[in-house]
Amino acid sequence: MRLSIINGSPRGVSSNTMKLLEYFTKGFLETEGNSIEILHSIKDRPDFTKEREMFLRAERLLIAFPLYVDAMPGSVKELIESFEPLKGKNPSLKLMFMTQCGFPETHHTRFVERYCEKLGRRLGCVYGGAICKGGCEGLTVQPPALVEKVFKRFYELGKAYGETGELDSKILARLAHPEQLTPENLKQVIPMVNNFLWDGLMKKNNALDKSFDKPYGEDL
């Protein structure tokens, strides 16, 4: 089985999206004979020649992107617009998506997931589903035990996909946990993210005292 992948992260190779893809593809490649190819679309804008060529000849295509302001990043929308002339040109293509967000709840990704499903239909492909995952910002500063669990699930999902050619709905659901947070979880998670992730990064940059700066006007 050959899997073609477009990493749509504006951070390119050094992105959380790519990190998750690494584990997914590691699992996928456990099955003998499987192979992958990856393009980083941020490098190929605005023409996306390589991506359009990949779309036309691929058997299985996974388009992965981080959630930006509740949807695909603008640069991924550029990519999608470049696919407009390709509608119906590869009807046997199995098209999948992967989207991850920094918010702890996977629920935030469910709205763009509907767009992805519709896009699969619009392009005239076989829709293979979407991998949705919250809690992915700061993978490098989160507790290792938490991060390892996320990576393991992506590996398992990739492995099962490599064997069956389908996204396993049970693994997808486990991976998406928590879909939403309980009030108790919210009370714990919010200060943790604010203090450890954001304050930590601001401290590192000597910017903590500027945290609430209003460069467009103090009175605004």
């Binding site: 941020i42 930006y68 949807a71 617009e81 509907r114 954001w198 601001m202 945290s211 467009y216």
Partner: protein
């Protein structure tokens, strides 16, 4: 009231004259109206570096028209995103603009209605509105998907989606709806 129109149409599109007519109506009713023609502006897509949150809080690393986008958005009472629907979604040029206004909010998270969203950096944010031109294969399902996503996006920008209008409705109705929402 100050209404900002972020024009995401291409040159020569009928949407341009529709927007101009709405602007004239809004002005005739005594309101202030501004227009940013996005295709004539120069701004890079957001690269997700988060420097605007953790290195130079409130300011993007890119020194381009993203600065104008932020300033104009923040000082409007209503920000109208006017765009053709391309491949089931507003134009990439509009999404790139929206991605570039995240310096206006704070990275901290807070509980809004039982969900995690971002905190305010400024006191006040504009209400948001969508003025959409159906093109090609756009259908009602697309419009509902767009509405649902933009309601979420507005919430994350400390705003709310006040209105979604299609350009197949009369100009006067669109202007009236904007003013009265």
């Amino acid at each position: 009231m100050k209404i900002l129109f972020m024009n995401g149409s291409s040159a020569g599109s009928e949407l341009n004259s529709y927007i101009s007519s709405v602007i004239n109506s809004v002005k005739a009713a005594g309101h202030e109206a501004g227009e940013l023609i996005l295709r004539d502006m120069n701004y890079s897509p957001c690269r997700g570096c988060f420097n605007c949150w953790v290195r130079t809080p409130g300011l993007c690393v890119f020194k381009d028209d993203g600065d104008t986008l932020c300033r104009e958005f923040l000082t409007a009472d209503i920000a109208v995103l006017a765009s053709p629907v391309i491949m089931g979604y507003p134009a990439a040029i509009v999404k790139n603009a929206l991605d570039r206004i995240i310096p206006l909010i704070h990275p901290y998270l807070e509980d809004i209605g039982g969900e995690v969203h971002h905190l305010k950096r400024y006191k006040k944010y504009p209400a948001m509105a969508l003025l959409l031109e159906k093109t090609g294969d756009t259908d009602d399902e697309d419009i509902e998907i767009i509405r649902d996503i933009y309601q979420r996006a507005a919430l994350n920008l400390q705003s709310s989606l006040k209105l979604l209008r299609l350009t197949n409705s009369p100009v006067e109705e669109a202007a009236h709806a904007l003013i009265n929402n």
